[in-house]
Structures are given as structure tokens and as C-alpha cells.
Subunit: 118 residues, 2 copies
């Protein structure tokens, strides 16, 4: 068993194409998670992720803040307690259009080498 | 993309051996999640899960409340913002020894038929 507070995991600048976004890789293959990884994102007001797609899904739970999430068909508001599922290859973008930091969990499967490389 | 509030998903009594525990299956294979499922547990004060093990891991994020988690070696306190990883086949038990409902996310891989059957 491993137990720790999320703030005990280093926050790193999220990858290229994001603005004002930090990520903490909370549960990874390094501690024995073979199937999927848990990350926590912190997005400052005005921050965003790129509008992009990739061949793995996202399972998201919004912890704090308000923002919008965009796909190719629509733009939806989100807030604390919302659950978001982005299918594999579905283009998507998260934006913080609120006044507080947005915090959300975003889990990804270790089915692709690109994810395993993190 | 799917987006909904966690409270819009029905809470069901958690399985045999639990006491005072409700579960909402938030993200499942039914909405296209092929690799892992996101569930949200609500455990009332005095509630617990059985001390048990199984061949799949748990990735847990504590949203609210305080409790203890037990494995074969130790007993640890947990609270909001804590991250818990239970390895496959590691025996474990969650207990709410606080005065408020404990809420936590617990994600499981679809690597076993038992999980897929839910």
C-alpha cells in the first residue's frame, strides 16, 4: 500500500501546447500501477490545454474551479464534482475561464508507449 | 465526450461484506471506457469495506472525510487530498472512523472478468 498527499508529489509544467498548467503524476508504473496512471492538473485562470487528440482516453474528475471543455461538436461548462470522459482519438481542449485555479484528476491507460514514457 | 455530475449517477449499495457504503459507477465500459472504471464511494461514519484482496489494483483519491486504511502490515490514517495505491492481491480495508461521510474515488482496471461483470 502506498499513501501520500497529492501535494507531496512535485508539480511540473504540463507539456508543450498548454498554458498555465501544472501536472502531478500521482500514481504511475513506478509505484506498481501497470494498467493506468492518475495525474492531477492545476490550471490557472486563463490557462488551457491544446485542442488535440490522441489514441488513448481520458477519465476526468473535477475537484475545484470552473471552466469549459471543448470537443469537435460542442463546448460544455464544467465545475467541481463533474465527471468527463474523452474517448480515444476524440479531439478535446480544457480551458479555465473562471477566476480560481481549476484542479482536476485525469487518468490515462498505459496502453500506448507515449504514455508509458512519462 | 460525456460530461455529467457525479450525483447524477445512481448510488447503489456496495457489495457484500461492506457496511454503510454506497457506490456510483461513474465511468464504465458502457460509455466506452475499455481499460478502467471510475467509481465514487460514500462511506458513512462507522462504515467499512471488508478486509479482502483480489487480483486487481485500486487507484484511490480521497475527496472528503477522514478514515483509516488497513493492509496486512499497517494501519494508516487518510483524509481529503490523499492518494492511495493498493497493489493487486494486497489485502486491504477502508474504515470511516470520523464523524462525516467519507467520499473517495476508486478506479479499477478491466483486466478481470469479475470487474467487467459490473
Amino acid at each position: 500500500m502506498e499513501i501520500f498527499h497529492y501535494q507531496d508529489v512535485e508539480a511540473k509544467r504540463a507539456e508543450k501546447g498548454t498554458f498555465g498548467v501544472m501536472v502531478r503524476w500521482l500514481i504511475t508504473k513506478e509505484i506498481g500501477a501497470e494498467n493506468f496512471a492518475m495525474r492531477l492538473f492545476e490550471m490557472e485562470p486563463g490557462g488551457y490545454s491544446p485542442f488535440h487528440g490522441h489514441p488513448w482516453e481520458h477519465e476526468v474528475f473535477v475537484l475545484e474551479g470552473k471552466g469549459i471543455v471543448v470537443d469537435e461538436k460542442e463546448e460544455r461548462k464544467f465545475g467541481a464534482g463533474d465527471v468527463i470522459f474523452i474517448s480515444s482519438n476524440e479531439k478535446h481542449q480544457f480551458k479555465n475561464n473562471g477566476e480560481k485555479t481549476v484542479k482536476f484528476l485525469c487518468l490515462v491507460p498505459y496502453t500506448h508507449e507515449y504514455v508509458r514514457a512519462h
